[in-house]
């Protein structure tokens, strides 16, 4: 018990995974804390699913160690896995069984006997209650996704692994799923998330790691990464045409229109002034902050060089 209290929910240390000669994961290290959403972001084939598969012991690491509350997933898999809820990327079929039966069996695999009331509560929370007697093949894509999440949550996990849970689902469902994730975070659940929707990752993830070719290129607080790696875009329309400005922040200058890119650490007016423009000449101004997508693109580009 002491082990569980003293250690982070998820600790991945120097994890490497080879498939034959192909290295899918390369010396990956990160932790996820209680009540934290950690986003593992990267293009297809970056190694995100390989990392998650290794955490749930579907794959064996070639090198490195994964601990869940201090329990090594290779040496003490039963204890380690009992803390984990996993939403796989692909929907699981479950053949002959309906939603209620699936939840009952799945919670049972984790040693939890759910009462009918608890099952119904979970299904209601995920809008599946009215479909509880349907089989997986009778469900829509969105319902199948929600069922995967219901399964992952049925044993009250302390760690939730979400492997692209919103791939191919509509906007409303995505929003409700992210609201649900925020609720779980507020309850102290540690969440590891992979997604291609960077805007959502920016809103949701406390920390992110950018993964490319199995290697983490950058890891840190989401807001810090955005601040460090991106720039504000400032579009100015002035009341007059200025002589050509000699400043590296100036991206373009056509007539009375000037486009600036200033570091995120600078305020808008400070940036304009430092670019050599008198604030009194501003007729109109448009500002766009840098975002996680910009930071991601930059890191990926630099990673390729």
């Amino acid at each position: 018990m002491k082990k569980s209290q003293d250690n982070p929910p998820l600790k991945v240390q120097n994890l490497s995974k080879f498939y034959g000669s192909l290295q899918a994961v390369n010396q990956v290290t990160f932790e996820v804390q209680p009540g934290e959403v950690f986003g593992l972001l990267g293009p297809n084939g970056a190694g995100k699913t390989s990392i998650i598969s290794t955490i749930v012991t579907l794959e064996e690491p070639t090198q490195g160690k994964i601990e869940i509350f201090g329990h090594d997933v290779q040496k003490d898999p039963l204890t380690a896995k009992s803390y984990v809820g996993w939403v796989p990327q692909e929907v699981i079929n479950h053949g002959f069984f309906n939603i209620c039966e699936i939840i009952k069996f799945h919670s049972g695999y984790f040693g939890k006997s759910l009462s009918e009331e608890e099952t119904n509560q979970l299904l209601k929370r995920l809008d599946l209650y009215n479909h509880r007697h349907k089989k997986v093949k009778q469900l829509s894509g969105g319902m199948k996704r929600r069922l995967m999440i219901a399964k992952a949550l049925c044993h009250n996990p302390k760690i939730l692994l979400l492997d692209e849970p919103t791939a191919g689902v509509d906007i409303d469902l995505r929003k409700s799923l992210w609201d649900f994730v925020k609720e779980l975070r507020s309850q102290g659940v540690a969440i590891l998330l992979t997604t291609h929707y960077l805007e959502e990752a920016e809103n949701l993830c406390d920390r992110v790691g950018f993964l490319s070719h199995g290697r983490i290129l950058r890891i840190g607080q989401t807001s810090e990464i955005v601040t460090d790696l991106t720039e504000k875009t400032i579009e100015l329309i002035l009341d007059r045409e200025l002589p050509e400005l000699k400043n590296s922040w100036v991206q373009s200058q056509k007539g009375n229109e000037i486009h600036l890119k200033v570091p995120m650490t600078k305020g808008v007016f400070e940036g304009v002034r430092l670019a050599g423009i008198d604030l009194s000449h501003i007729k109109d101004i448009r500002v766009k902050d840098g975002d996680l997508e910009d930071a991601f693109r930059r890191v990926m580009k630099e990673g390729q060089q």
Binding site: I92, N93, F105, S113
Partner: protein, 262 residues
């Protein structure tokens, strides 16, 4: 919410038993009709013209063999189709991600298969009893119930463990069918279900005695009829060895094989 130590195992066992009951027409009724046809064609129609040493009727001789054949076949089919289905649908990934041990999986799959094997075996025996009563005017009494149960249970476990192993390593449905059709079925048919090895040429007797299925089938025959072609201690030793070897094979398959979906 209650947490129980053995619940993971019992949940999987429950699922396994529910699984074949959901399609009982396919998993229980069809094999039973199959066995009934064998009894009708070989036992009733051809039986009177076939002589068996020891003064027992061919129908009586046939019943134990068919009971064991139904039990073994259905045990293998149940575990192998369940594992292959789980691979195909992704359920096996689910099981791997859950705190279930390889032994949990082996025993849950095997007990599920044993349940189906025993149900189909019992129904086959019941149909055989009815045919026997109609034909002979009295019921066929089981001579050694304990021996009967021991061989049915060990045989069923052995075949279900074999089913797990084969299904775990099979890459396609064809590979699974090939093992079932080209290896197991011939072994069962040549294991003395329909004939007594004592009627064979000495060379073929020797060949038959190298078939482990002969010992399982004759164990059941000893249990029901009180007579068989092999010595019971030897039959028990072979059955036990088969169980241990297939258990080791299933354990190794679950430890080393892939749980990833097809």
């Amino acid at each position: 919410m209650k947490s129980q130590k053995y619940l993971p195992f019992f949940s999987l066992l429950h699922r396994e038993i529910s699984r074949f009951f959901k399609v009982a027409a396919q998993t229980v009724l069809t094999p039973m009709i199959n066995s009934s046809l064998y009894l009708l064609i070989f036992g009733i129609s051809l039986g009177p013209s076939i002589h068996i040493e020891g003064g027992i009727s061919y129908l009586a001789f046939l019943i134990p063999g068919l009971v064991m054949m139904a039990c073994l076949n259905n045990s293998f089919q149940n575990s192998s189709s369940s594992v292959v289905g789980a691979k195909f649908g992704g359920d096996l990934e689910d099981l791997k991600s859950a705190p279930l041990t390889p032994q949990n999986l082996i025993w849950a799959y095997s007990l599920g298969a044993l349940t189906r094997g025993l149900i189909v075996g019992s129904l086959t025996f019941l149909v055989g009893e009815i045919f026997f009563y109609v034909s002979e005017g009295h019921w066929l009494a089981v001579q050694h119930p304990l021996i009967l149960m021991v061989f049915l249970v060990i045989g069923s476990f052995t075949f279900s463990q074999l089913g797990i192993s084969v299904a775990f390593w099979a890459k396609t449905f064809d590979q699974l069918s090939a093992v079932s059709g080209f290896v197991l079925l011939p072994l069962i048919y040549l294991g003395g279900v329909f004939y007594s090895v004592s009627n064979l040429h000495p060379f073929w007797q020797a060949v038959s005695r190298s078939n482990p299925l002969l010992y399982l089938i004759n164990g059941v025959r000893e249990g029901i009829l009180g007579t068989s072609d092999v010595q019971m201690p030897l039959a028990f030793a072979v059955a036990l060895a088969g169980f241990l070897v297939t258990h080791a094979l299933a354990y190794w398959s679950l430890k080393k094989g892939s749980y990833l979906r097809w």
